[in-house]
Symmetry: C2
């Protein structure tokens, strides 16, 4: 991987007629300024920006369809853009083209509280949705680190800290409105909670990272706010102890809502950033949802399990403000870590393994990081077997980038050898395309490619991401 | 719909060379006898049989791959076959061809108890799997009425009574081995519980009913056997009361493991068949899974809710033998109902709607059944908004068949108008192909067709099912 911009042999000049036609539709919501193009040509990855030729801000599915129809006619690439918080280069304009920014499609279309569903435009963010439904007694649990848009979260099959209990966007997306590569508008799924009616188009588009179409509306499941919530935190003498406690918790079927691991480096970073004074050891952060009694029962069981694995300092946080402070610190870990090395960028990668292999996979990855002297932290949604490695590099130092990339490659190879996956929630983008072949094998990749060719025959939908054409 | 066999214009004579080549691989496990072909040319639907030209019994993925490779070469249709318990004509050989029976692929390949996963050959049935893992402390929850094969359950995206708590085959299938239409072997997914690695091929094949490839191995999630289980039953003066009690239970987030509705006709049938003496009124049957205290808490809450909806005779069944008797009766409802009219066949259909519309959808369907004087019962996995209509018809009386079909069509139209689906768990088969267009619209159907053309370009995989070529 080269983190510098790569010139594209496939890049075509933007036809003036296309720009004029887009201008007629979008008016001032079409921009070709350098600043706007730069803003849209990068994400949270360590790639240098790759700029689109123009950006349009859509307000409706029909406007997206009109833009796609035009781009299809001229065979110009389209890059969908929500909040720009992807981590693997998903939104970079590898071959130029038009970025369709849906962040202004920010209307909640319908809340069906009685059915526990919400339908939103693709630009609505997870925090916005939760704000808008907070008086209904319901909540939407999926929480990737960033306040991402629901469209982007569906497109990358996002998850987060609550997935161990509530599932990911795969399980929680009921229906989509999608603009296909020819500009036609599709509706996939319904608001029924299950269906055996034909091919599962919803899950074809969930996780397709804009390479098969643009998601313009998302219908998701909501959940009743639990009667009681409590959180607990405890520290461990070693990573193995912490992870083994999690493994046993899951194997016993304790329905924890969240269980997050921070290694000692992560704890140091949030201590510094959030002034927390936690012991600088591997740490687990739990959250329990249920009835008053159910929450207490879960927490007591977890306290027993963690004690058997040498936990110390088991502490409760039942008051909302204490819980919020701990979880805010967890959510800020990425930014807290970045401040450990000013001027650096983070190479952030993730993988997911069957839970019995989790301790081994994390430990071997830690050893690899230590051996190469990188500044790093391992943080994980460990109840799912999913963890992240954050490595701080000077992006202008090719040796550092190469070292981090080597660690990433070995971590992925390790996860795949354990019957795991090269990414649990970040997605493929440009960065993990080769790993995808390693994980799935040529035959499955050919089937993916056949689907790409069938649904995007001109290769204009976010080209150069997920699979090689 | 015509329930008599339809002559196929596409049917081709079976090449002698193909038969010889299959014989060389399968020996005595290749059959062309009339009896064997008849056995494989029908399912539990009311369709008359449509016979394949030959049947092979595969013992391995490699044998399936060899058979598919041959059929692809000669462009001869392939019909995958598990237990033959599908309900919408899925396994009928509409255009002749070779039925590949996987029922002898009945090995459990691997149990990873520590990861809560099992990998099985496609012919392993759900009861067999549960028998084989019962000493592990784990269970596999998905239970369609029949003791279906896991391969068939994946192929029809099956669910059953536990789906309200544990999900369907959509949520519980982690990975598949599939033989594609060209005979190549694909592996989709991994044993990791979540992944953002590329297109979700697992869920492309789950629910594809053998039209994109043949599933030969399935990796599913397992669950710890709950510490405590209890069941409860109660009767209601009206269908509306029963269904409204369910709606409130779900909206309050009570984590019921099962909640089944039987209308008064269903109760009569199981009373007669299982000698139960239940009040012949609409009935709900609940099951609760959890800790001792959690189960009690759920049941008390449900008792309150049902009382508010005029329930009577709320009874507990905490002893395993009492629970088993009630649930066996529920599972036998289909056969119990058939005995209400000897010599009849059941036209069995299902749909699924957002739960707020469930009472209305069931009631309007009941009124339609009453108006047309059919012998019927409505039985449902109502926690999901999913219900079944079973109508007993003389399959040789076209008027009766047409009346039942009219009721089915109106039920589906009603469900779709309520933002529901034409089938919650039975699948499309030959019977619901036109409804699929109604539900999804031409643009989404074109996307499904593009996927079919991409993955099965010769249209040899279970042709004539799900979508028109």
């Amino acid at each position: 991987m080269n983190h510098a911009a790569q010139p594209s042999a496939l890049k075509k000049p933007l036809p003036a007629a296309l720009l004029a036609a887009l201008g007629a539709i979008f008016g001032e919501r079409l921009s070709t300024t350098q600043a706007m193009r730069e803003h849209h040509g990068r994400d949270e990855s360590s790639y240098d920006p790759m700029l689109p030729d123009a950006v349009v801000f859509a307000h409706s599915t029909d406007e997206v369809a009109a833009a796609v129809t035009l781009c299809s006619r001229y065979e110009i690439p389209i890059i969908p853009y929500g909040t720009g918080t992807s981590l693997e280069g998903h939104v970079l304009a590898l071959h130029g083209g038009i970025t369709i920014d849906v962040s202004q499609m920010d209307k909640v279309v319908a809340i069906h509280a009685e059915d526990l569903t919400a339908t939103v435009q693709a630009g609505v963010t997870r925090k916005q949705l939760n704000m808008e439904i907070k008086d209904s007694g319901l909540f939407f649990p999926i929480d990737p680190g960033a306040d991402a848009s629901l469209g982007g979260m569906a497109a990358t099959r996002a998850s987060g800290t609550n997935a161990v209990r509530y599932g990911t966007m795969r399980e929680n997306t009921l229906a989509l409105t999608v603009v296909g590569a020819d500009g036609r508008i599709l509706r996939t799924g319904t608001r029924a909670r299950k269906s055996s009616a034909g091919y599962d188009l919803t899950r074809v588009y969930v996780g397709s990272e804009g390479t098969l179409g643009i998601i313009t509306e998302v219908t998701v499941k909501l959940y009743p706010q639990p009667e009681a919530i409590s959180a607990a935190v405890c520290s461990f003498p070693s990573t193995a102890d912490a992870v083994n406690a999690v493994i046993q918790t899951i194997q016993m079927g304790v329905p924890v809502a969240r269980v997050e691991f921070l290694d000692e480096n992560g704890v140091k970073a949030i201590n510094a950033h959030d002034k927390l004074g936690l012991p600088e050891q591997p740490l687990l952060l739990f959250e329990f949802h249920g009835s008053q009694h159910g929450v207490q029962e879960q927490a007591e069981l977890v306290q027993q399990i963690t004690a058997e694995h040498n936990a110390s300092g088991f502490e409760w946080a039942t008051r909302p403000e204490d819980r919020s402070r701990l979880w805010a610190a967890r959510h800020n870990a990425y930014f807290a870590l970045l401040q450990m090395r000013p001027g650096s960028r983070s190479i952030s990668t993730d993988c997911c393994v069957p839970i019995s292999r989790l301790a081994e996979c994390i430990l071997d990855t830690k050893i690899d990081c230590e051996k190469h002297g990188v500044i790093y932290s391992i943080i994980g949604h460990v109840g799912d077997g999913n963890f992240h490695v954050l490595m701080l590099v000077d992006p202008h130092n090719p040796d550092e980038v190469a070292t981090a990339e080597g660690i990433n490659q070995r971590m992925v190879a390790r996860a795949i050898a354990m019957d795991g996956t090269c990414t649990g929630e970040h997605g493929v983008g440009m960065h993990k395309m080769d790993f995808l072949v390693q994980e799935h094998g040529e035959n499955a990749i050919d089937a993916m490619r056949a689907i790409k060719h069938a649904l995007d025959p001109k290769n204009i939908m976010n080209p150069g991401k997920i699979i090689h054409w």
